[in-house]
């Protein structure tokens, strides 16, 4: 009976949409092809071309860009290759900076999301709206305003000194901390919104059940709340970490020369006369590969965890 029913249903569906199916998919294929696949292929191709001075490329195959990234062959390119640490260090520093910014976003974003999700209906939407308001303003302008706020003679230091809390300006600008603050400020909503969505769905009777079973508040947070809202936390972390890794506005405007990050490195290759397009493309490809590998490892750990619980079935 059930089989007859379901096959009848699917044939109706098939009859209606059989011809339309591929057509309906078309817009998304166009978007993905045009804005995702094509640029990445273009980038891949460019990374294997020869650079032309003053920007642009010569259409000639070359692995120079990758070679330049990983190996040092001396000033004139005639020495035995040694590992080139400059760019690897920039990568490492960027990962570190983006990681700290993500942690900062998590520690501020989680309580914020929790607070919003536990408000009643009307004030909930108001808080969500307030969180997103700054993002109506261009990122460049926001980053510059942050620079104004935290510089040595800016309002933050002036007020703190006039209230007698400090007697010397806190020197933040041009430091790692300034960059992290900038990244934090740029991407906080990307942390808040997915966590908010998770907490919104969280069943608070689970917390009561935990307390009923002798959990302290900290134990409830660690053993129940965080594991249950984990999908939102991970989504938030990815959404903050990935763009932070490639960010260039915050490091350019708030950091000094010592806080150079991947984003700035890439940006430099495509800007002005000093650029090197194949090298910029190669750095982008390396960054992309790193992110994809990390996401793949994460996806695999998730699916194997799911498989483990299903195996118990």
């Amino acid at each position: 009976m059930a089989q007859i029913g379901s096959s009848a249903r699917s044939s109706v569906k098939g009859g209606t949409f059989a011809g339309l199916g591929p057509l309906l998919m078309l817009p998304s294929w166009v978007v993905i092809g045009f804005f995702l696949v094509l640029p990445v292929i273009l980038m891949l191709v460019y990374s294997f071309l020869t650079k032309e001075f003053r920007g642009g490329v010569i259409w000639e195959f070359s692995v120079n860009a990758y070679d330049q990234f990983f190996f040092n062959r001396g000033l004139f390119g005639d020495e035995a290759p040694t590992i080139e640490w400059t760019y690897i260090n920039i990568f490492w520093r960027s990962i570190w900076q983006a990681g700290l910014a993500t942690v900062l976003c998590l520690f501020i974003g989680f309580p914020t999301a929790w607070f919003i999700a536990t408000r009643s209906g009307h004030s909930k939407s108001m808080w969500l709206f307030l969180i997103t308001i700054p993002y109506w303003v261009n990122l460049l302008i926001r980053t510059i305003s942050l620079k104004f706020l935290i510089r040595d003679t800016g309002p933050m230091n002036t007020w703190l000194m006039s209230w007698g809390i400090i007697d010397q300006p806190i020197h933040i600008i041009n430091s790692n901390l300034a960059v992290q603050l900038g990244l934090f400020y740029s991407y906080l909503p990307f942390m808040v919104l997915p966590i908010y969505a998770s907490v919104e769905r969280y069943d608070f009777s689970l917390s009561e059940a935990a307390a009923d079973l002798y959990s302290t508040r900290m134990e409830t947070l660690r053993q129940i709340i965080i594991p249950v809202v984990k999908p939102g936390i991970i989504a938030g972390c990815i959404l903050v970490f990935v763009p932070s890794l490639g960010a260039f506005l915050a490091p350019d405007l708030l950091g000094g020369s010592k806080t150079f990050m991947i984003g700035s490195l890439i940006e430099e290759q495509f800007k002005g006369n000093a650029g090197n397009w194949p090298f910029g493309a190669a750095v982008s490809m390396i960054l992309l590969s790193l992110v994809l590998i990390a996401l793949m490892f994460y996806a695999r750990s998730q699916s194997s965890a799911r498989k483990a619980t299903r195996a118990a079935d």
Partner: protein, 354 residues
Amino acid sequence: MNTAVEIENVTKRYGDVVALSSVSLAIEDNEFFTLLGPSGCGKTTLLRSIAGFEQLSQGDIKLFGDSIVDLPPNKRPVNTVFQHYALFPHLTVADNVGFGLQRQRLPSHEIASRVADILEMVQLGSYADRLPSMLSGGQQQRVALARALAPRPRLLLLDEPLSALDLKLRQDVRVELQQIQHDTGITFIFVTHDQEEALTMSDRIAVMSEGVLQQVGTPRQIYEAPDNRFVADFIGDTNLIDVQVTQVLDQCATCVLPGGASIACNNMAGASVGAGHLSVRPERVTLGPVDGSALQGEVSRLTYLGTDIHVTVALSDGGKMDVRVQNSDSAAIPQPGSTIGLYLDIAAARLLVD
């Protein structure tokens, strides 16, 4: 017998809503105690106050002699079976059941053996490694029960634990729950809005309405000797007849029925001269000839119930009476439209004041 829980003059307000109004109640150790009342009468609020999830507006709650109102929920030796189970979705059945034991810092081998024992008791031994989402409603309900029993609380609170199960399963679980309560000797406070559930399972029942305790007693007392109209009407079916009490002498009241017949009643919840109400269960009314009957009416409707026939009789004064006739006695089943006499079992008719 020891008193397990003493609820003293407990009041709980939410703004203007009075969820509990001066409730006082003593629950004995080892008792299967039921809170019964319609939805919204404050049963959950009372249970949550005992568990520690609600701050009382007034009053005190004592557990085995000691006040617990200042203790947070995690410090109270009380466990709860939540209405929608509240199982931890990311933990296996075994980890759910062992959760309380882990928080009590028991050694892991002891946790493992106790979890295994208790899963055996609720017949879920082979489901230890599953996640709650892979279980049926009945199985989830038993995990919730096992999880609350595992730490061996002195008091178990159950908030309508059977309401999400289908009828057949509900009847099986009733028996199982009683058995578990009997075997473990843990005091149970069981919340339900289902009077049949309350009557069949409980040692004693507290009937509540709109935050006020109406009556506490054994199932039999509640059913046969209700204190007021609310209890009489809420537990089972009853006929409430408005009567005039003309005289009260030595626990015997003279009542005048609407038709003018006068009867003497000595089963009463207090009586004074004036208006009163006589509660008579449908199975305590018999049908007979009009002559010599206390009340008369016309049979307006017969409802077939299998074991019984439900007869609705329209009284001459506009009221109606429900009567149950056993299906075994076909001669006693009247014809619709016929005029008939009603005979009340006076010993089982209860006179109520309010």
